[in-house]
């Protein structure tokens, strides 16, 4: 039954895609930080969510912009999953997949665009990102915008720290943020690094 179901669903989704009924495809991939729910629309990645289920806020935002045609379609998420794999293996320092920020507010777009300029292995602060975005005094709002960054890792909000150098916050949890920063400092060997103890 399971196999029958999987085959049947693949054919169904392929037909929906051909008929233009599918606007956004999603898939769940395993990562060293746990499962990630990835949604890709016609203009690029719309969401990378920590967990195997979508966040209600992500779904609502996607449906507002692209309608209800949001379907499980691993093929759409594959290119993102591949780049994430390479990144986690230490073989990729920047992402080539397109990101779609059009469903966000203008302020969020500016903050995330400024964040995307912070390169692999570098860090910045909420204040500096706000300044780059042309909103020098909005460091607190910048922090909030980054806290609800719908495309973490690819838009590297983990590289943004509090002005005193402490970690600040992170949607995937501070442990995930710490591990991503460690990976980028070259401190994490490819493969297996998530399995080390919490206090490594």
């Amino acid at each position: 039954m399971n196999e029958l179901m999987t085959d049947a669903r693949e054919r169904l989704v392929a037909r929906a895609r051909r008929e233009g009924l599918e606007t956004v495809g999603y898939g769940v991939v395993d990562s060293p930080l746990g499962p990630l729910w990835i949604a890709v629309g016609p203009k690029g990645v719309l969401a990378i969510h920590y967990g195997s289920e979508p966040a209600a806020a992500d779904l609502a935002r996607i449906v507002r912009s692209y309608g209800p045609g949001v379907l499980p379609d691993a093929r759409r998420a594959d290119p993102v999953a591949r780049e994430l794999d390479q990144y986690f293996a230490g073989k990729r320092k920047s992402f080539d997949v397109a990101v779609d920020l059009s469903t966000l507010t203008e302020f969020q777009r500016r903050i995330l665009t400024a964040t995307a300029q912070v390169g692999f292995g570098e860090v910045s602060s909420y204040g500096k990102v706000a300044a780059t975005a042309g909103r020098k005094k909005a460091s607190r709002a910048a922090g909030q915008a980054l806290g609800s960054n719908p495309i973490p890792i690819v838009v590297p909000c983990h590289r943004i720290l509090a002005s005193d150098g402490s970690l600040g916050g992170y949607a995937g949890g501070l442990e995930a943020k710490r591990r991503l920063l460690t990976l980028e400092r070259g401190g994490a060997p490819a493969g297996g690094w998530i399995r080390r103890g919490r206090d490594d």
Partner: protein
């Protein structure tokens, strides 16, 4: 349960039972596959579901109509020989016996019987799925039960 906002949610929530239902009614993997696909494509094209919270009955109604359309087109009775593919064993009843008993039921009674006794729907849901009154659903199931019991005696 939260309202369904996307095709994916509808699919993930109900695809297994709709596939199983199609398999029980058609007793053929390829036919069941077609019914499953046509049902969900029709649901996507007809979006949104008519009333919040009634997506399940809506899907069963579409699926039932697809099965009846196919049977009509093929001008043949739906075969139930392969029911054991889909039906779990219940109460020590031999599935082969059950399959042949269900096979001879008229279409309306068969759908009502399968929805209530094999898919486990409430009578209100059976009624919505078959677009009839709850009373009619009860009497169809009761009639079907009587015939199935007789056939299996």
């Amino acid at each position: 349960m939260t309202a369904i906002a996307t095709f994916g949610e509808l699919l993930e929530r109900h695809e297994r039972e709709i596939f199983a239902y199609a398999l029980r009614l058609t007793a053929d993997r390829d036919d069941a596959d077609d019914v499953y696909q046509e049902t969900f494509l029709a649901a996507f094209r007809g979006w949104p579901p008519p009333r919040r919270g009634q997506e399940r009955a809506w899907l069963y109604r579409i699926a039932t109509n697809k099965v009846i359309d196919r049977a009509r087109r093929a001008k043949r009775l739906v075969r139930m020989d392969d029911l054991r593919l889909a039906a779990p064993e219940r109460d020590g009843v031999s599935l082969a016996d059950l399959a042949s008993a269900v096979k001879v039921l008229p279409e309306g009674q068969r759908a009502a019987f399968v929805l209530r006794k094999l898919q486990g729907l409430e009578y209100a849901e059976v009624a919505r799925a078959l677009a009839c009154s709850e009373e009619a659903a009860r009497s169809r199931v009761a009639e079907a039960m009587k015939k199935v019991k007789e056939a299996m005696r």
